[in-house]
């Protein structure tokens, strides 16, 4: 029996069936895998936070190496001494603060709500690190990351990631040679808050000058670079009242 595939009714039935079949396959797959995917994302956040404070397996090779996923949960509780949630003037501890979606909180703040700001206090070799999540816009899509500062507001490490920056250009913000440059830069100029900027032509490609609040830009990735500068400046700015108390106490 040959089916007349030209009939309108056939076309409609075919389209409807196709939508239902493909929809169910995808929905089934998504719900089946969502637990595993969430777990992966959770471990990745812990890896990123630890990476920013220098707990990673970076060798001399120049590639980014996180704490292995099998060990990250243990390392996270070992090095992260406290997870704070700053909500306006209220500061509370929350063991799951790292799961707070800072981007969602940013959108809530735009609607007038007080946002929850997670802050992680790490300790390694007797030294304290204050680690803050960041998010912003690159050239094509969102970028995000973590920055760790010490009590003197000097950057101890960063981690950047992106959703869709151009491979070979903007995507290099997550390369070590770029991220390593931030180490030692201060987010203050004197006592004034300036953040750390990505600068073109600062005549410091090896990044030896550590008091200029600038790191050398990536060639061909001006807009991603500007996005990173803005991301650091705006995200860390939210924590200034808290950071100021730490700095003064220090």
């Amino acid at each position: 029996m040959a089916i007349n595939t030209e009939k309108n009714i056939y076309t409609v039935v075919f389209a409807a069936t196709m939508v239902v079949v493909v929809g169910s396959i995808l929905a089934f797959l998504a719900s089946g895998l969502s637990g595993k995917i969430k777990e992966n994302e959770r471990l990745e956040k812990q890896q990123n936070i630890l990476y920013a404070m220098g707990v990673n397996e970076n060798g001399d090779g120049g590639s980014v190496n996180f704490v292995p996923t099998t060990e990250v949960a243990g390392e996270f509780s070992k090095y992260i001494k406290d997870q704070l949630v700053i909500e306006g003037d209220d500061i509370s501890s929350d063991d799951e603060a790292y799961l707070i979606d800072v981007r969602k909180q940013g959108n809530l703040a735009k609607k007038g709500a007080t946002r929850k700001l997670p802050l992680f206090i790490g300790e390694k070799d007797g030294k304290k690190f204050y680690i803050m999540p960041m998010y912003g816009k690159g050239l094509w899509d969102i970028i995000w990351g973590y920055v760790a500062v010490d009590a003197n507001m000097v950057v101890q490490g960063v981690y950047f990631d992106h959703k869709g920056e151009t491979p070979g250009l903007g995507a290099n913000i997550k390369q070590r040679y770029f991220m390593d440059d931030f180490e030692g830069e201060s987010i203050l100029s004197g006592t004034r808050y300036v953040g750390v900027s990505i600068a073109k032509g600062n005549n410091d490609p090896l990044n030896n000058i550590k008091d200029d609040n600038e790191v050398d830009a990536l060639a061909g990735a001006t807009i991603t670079g500007n996005g990173v500068s803005a991301m650091i400046k705006e995200s860390v700015n939210l924590y200034r009242p808290y950071l100021e108390t730490i700095r003064v106490k220090n």
């Binding site: 076309t11 075919f14 995808l26 797959l29 895998l33 491979p167 070979g168 250009l169 060639a219």
Partner: protein, 215 residues
């Protein structure tokens, strides 16, 4: 018994040279420009397209007699989008690191004109095995160009291959850079891909007279 008949083999070998999707049919140029600044991205993209085009061609070929011709383009889009999302989800669950590398390409694969082109031109009119070979052949033809372009752009633009510095250190002035050689910043921006592809087309046409059109 030969695994492939002569005709079947030509399904794979033709798109590699004389009927290359990029240099002859000029399809898939958009992704060839976007991601070839480094070799690794080119290779990842080539493998992704190989998988999607091979599997997609088979699916479309199996469905070819029941697809209503009025909505065939939509059906093709649904098939390729569903395939890509399935792969993406499975990788996210079981190979998270790899899935992050691929994230950029997901959108580019769905919109790749070679994939739609092969569905439309071949899979709708041929059996699954032939369609599979055709898909693999075209994906390889696409991949070969991507890898060639990626190789030259990364080498001349960044002085590295797969991230390894092969020409020395441009900042410390070692290796080739000690002689005054500089990286060509132009190579890492997308227009350079167009020029490299142009040169490949030129070389290919000058060597194969059959490809030269008569005016």
């Amino acid at each position: 018994m030969a695994l492939l008949t002569k005709k079947d083999a030509s399904l794979i070998t033709d798109p590699l040279a004389d009927n290359n999707p990029i240099t002859i049919q000029v399809l898939g140029i958009c992704s060839a420009l976007a991601i070839t600044a480094e070799l690794k991205a080119s290779i990842v993209m080539a493998i992704s397209v190989l998988f999607v085009l091979g599997a997609g061609n088979v699916v479309i070929s199996l469905m070819r007699n029941i697809i209503p011709s009025k909505i065939r383009i939509i059906v093709q889009l649904v098939v390729v989008a569903a395939l890509v999302i399935i792969v993406d989800q499975v990788l996210k669950a079981f190979a998270y690191e790899l899935s992050k590398t691929l994230a950029v390409f997901v959108g580019l694969i769905i919109t790749n004109c070679i994939i739609m082109g092969r569905f439309e031109a071949f899979a709708l009119g041929n059996g699954p095995w032939k369609s599979f070979l055709d898909g693999i052949g075209n994906a390889l033809g696409y991949g070969v160009i991507l890898v060639i372009v990626g190789f030259f752009r990364e080498l001349l633009g960044s002085g590295t291959l797969l991230g390894f510095p092969v020409l020395g250190d441009p900042v410390e002035k070692t290796g080739l850079y000690a002689t005054g050689y500089e990286n060509n910043g132009f190579m890492i921006i997308p227009p350079a891909a167009l020029i490299v592809v142009g040169i490949i087309i030129w070389v290919q046409r000058s060597r194969n007279k059959a490809l030269i059109e008569e005016n």
